[in-house]
């Protein structure tokens, strides 16, 4: 789960990391008032879950509260990579002597939290990694010991030469690691970590993603979820316990299992169609999930055909069939539905569907071809 910069900065502040003061605003007036309170120059920053905010015109410097309000007016409501800006962060503008990058993520290969730091901050770290890998220092943290003092120091020592800056940065490394672990992050990033002309080390941007699987024990972090920032369909899917990703095609897919769902999408493409979504109804046998899935898929006007691909294992085919029948009673479905069911309780499922007037198939390729054809004809 991605959170906004202003929320990430709150987590960082709680961990003791120096962050310039600032608050979030949803209107130009509010932005003016915050700028007034902060005094001096401020930055007005679009709060959306996307990189490239600066290039898109979503980050502006203001010398006065009125200018802050003007910028907020321009930024609020703008669209950045398809996301509407509904909030801006108004924060003190810091003078910058140098910019560095500090990030932590879980390295899959070593299965450890990994720091990446670079004195080349304020830019895309993937680009630095590609063009100048020696400018990045990586450190994998042994989860049995956590970040050790000499490791935090070693990272800081890679970024700075001035002992006072090294000392501040050492503390920040430890604090960032605590924030990363304490909030079960999958990513925690400061870009840039700046040094001011007077030698203070501060985080002036913050990016944090939280491990969805850990949210059950972090209610206060879960509360940071911004429903505005995700398509309504994905919110509905999450609440129904479905994995759903919206795409741009016309074949709606409803599959059990993530791998089979991806393979189904790929096969739609192979047969000349375009998948409208990724949707995994998961392993449990709950007809309600199928109803929710159909509601979500049919709400997408692009969808011209609906494809069910179910390989029954834990998922019982008869439960899925019951769900389809149930959904067809509760909601009006004009889009043609193509169903493939095989595996556990396949026979019972086919009977249920037949009674309700649906026909079903058992081969994957044939249903995908059929769904692609139907969508193309619509």
């Amino acid at each position: 789960m991605d959170i906004h910069e202003y929320q990430a900065k709150e987590l960082f502040r709680a961990a003791g990391i120096p962050v310039p003061p600032g608050r979030v605003a949803t209107s130009p007036d509010e932005a003016r008032q915050i700028a007034q309170e902060l005094g001096g120059k401020v930055v007005v920053k679009a709060q959306v879950h996307s990189g490239g905010r600066g290039k898109a015109g979503g980050v502006k410097l203001a010398s006065s509260p009125d200018e802050a309000a003007t910028h907020a007016g321009a930024i609020l409501g703008m669209s950045i990579r398809g996301l509407e800006v509904k909030r801006v962060l108004v924060t003190v503008a810091e003078d910058i002597a140098s910019e560095a990058y500090v990030g932590i993520l879980v390295d899959r290969t070593t299965q450890r939290p990994m720091f990446m730091v670079s004195a080349e901050g304020g830019v895309d770290i993937e680009e630095v990694a590609a063009t100048n890998p020696d400018a990045i220092r990586k450190l994998r943290v042994d989860p049995r010991y956590g970040l050790l003092p000499h490791q935090a120091y070693g990272l800081a020592n890679f970024l700075y030469t001035d002992p006072a800056q090294v000392k501040q940065a050492t503390r920040i490394m430890a604090q960032l690691y605590e924030a990363f672990i304490g909030n079960s992050c999958s990513l925690a990033e400061i870009n840039p970590l700046i040094v001011t002309p007077t030698g203070e080390v501060k985080a002036i941007d913050a990016k944090v993603s939280i491990d969805e699987s850990a949210l059950f024990r972090l209610p206060e972090v879960e509360a940071l979820r911004d429903l505005d920032a995700e398509p309504a369909a994905e919110t509905l899917a999450r609440e129904a316990g479905l994995s759903f990703v919206k795409l741009d095609g016309n074949v709606g897919c409803c599959v059990n299992g993530a791998g089979l769902a991806m393979a189904t999408m790929d096969l739609v493409k192979t047969y000349g169609g375009e998948p409208a979504n990724f949707l995994d109804i998961g392993g449990s046998s709950n007809p309600d999930k199928v109803v929710a899935a159909l509601e979500i898929i049919t709400a997408d006007p692009n969808v011209k055909a609906i494809l069910f691909n179910i390989f029954g294992g834990i998922t019982r085919c008869d439960d899925v069939a019951t769900g389809i029948v149930e959904a067809s009673r509760r909601i009006r479905i004009d889009t043609p539905i193509v169903i493939r069911l095989t595996g556990t309780n396949e026979a019972e499922a086919l009977e249920i569907l037949a009674e309700a007037g649906f026909s079903a198939f058992t081969g994957m390729d044939e249903v995908v071809q059929k769904a692609v054809d139907l969508a193309a004809q619509a």
Binding site: V106, R108, T109, Q111, R112, P113, E126, D142, P143, R144, I181, S184, S186, D211, E212, S213, A214, F216, R217, S243, V245, L247, V255, N256, G257, A258, G259, L260, A261, M262, A263, M265, D266, L267, V268, K269, T270, P275, F278, D280, G283, F311, G312, G313, I314, T315, T342, G343, T344, M364, D365
Partner: protein, 295 residues
Amino acid sequence: MSIFIDDSTRLVVQGITGRDGSFHTSQMLEYGTRVVAGVTPGKGGQHFTALNGDRVPIFNTVEEAVAEEGANTSAIYVPPAFAAGAIMESADAGIHFIVAITEGIPVLDMTRAAQFVKDRGARLLGPNCPGAISPGTAKVGIIPGQITTPGPVGVVSRSGTLTYEAVAQLTAAGIGQTTCVGIGGDPVIGTDFIDTLRAFGEDPDTEAVVMIGEIGGTDEQEAAAWAREHLQIPVVGFIAGQTAPPGRRMGHAGAIISGSSGTAEEKIRAFEENGIAVARRPVDIRDLVRECLGA
């Protein structure tokens, strides 16, 4: 022959009285797996009765299950909040093969638990995996037994139902399996492709391997390079997620393209460059395996 599980497997089911645990214990017993014990804290001394009437003693701890019943393998069906702890309990009790079915274990919990299992010299399969089945011998996990049949092909996959799809097609074509292994869809897992390929390579009965990967990470790329160097038997590969957009998690916590890394194209290229035949459609897996076996 087979890998990881065979007729010496003595299974303890952690979370045997839960919904999933009890259902699959019955399934495993019906398949012929020796389920020697169950564990549910607080229910020690009771018995679990399977659908076929078999009775399995329940213990409070895995330690007791090992001491009393000689369990050497565990299957974990406990909820995500307790699953990493259950994995460590198994390893601490001397279980040497631990299969974690549970989906949704926090990744940072798993970084510790996976390390703990390594420290104890045990093997973890999963989490968020369907387990393993050695057709005709033993099944640990949730792979439907009826879609498999004994034979010369090893199957290893990050996914569940996609594996069933591939295995069912092999079986339907009369091509049996030594062992089918689901390594799981999480970013941090205990046994990876290389570990499984190595085991298949050491199994005299496995004549070819099907490796089913998906977007996210570099496990398939590394496995392909490893196989070229170390594996004497042919590999047929499949990668799911060619149409997946970058930056979005596709169901599995590990199925996500980060930046430009972990794409299906990258993995398919790695397969091809290392001599692995790549199936474009699931149905092609069967045909390529048939070619490999020269059947």
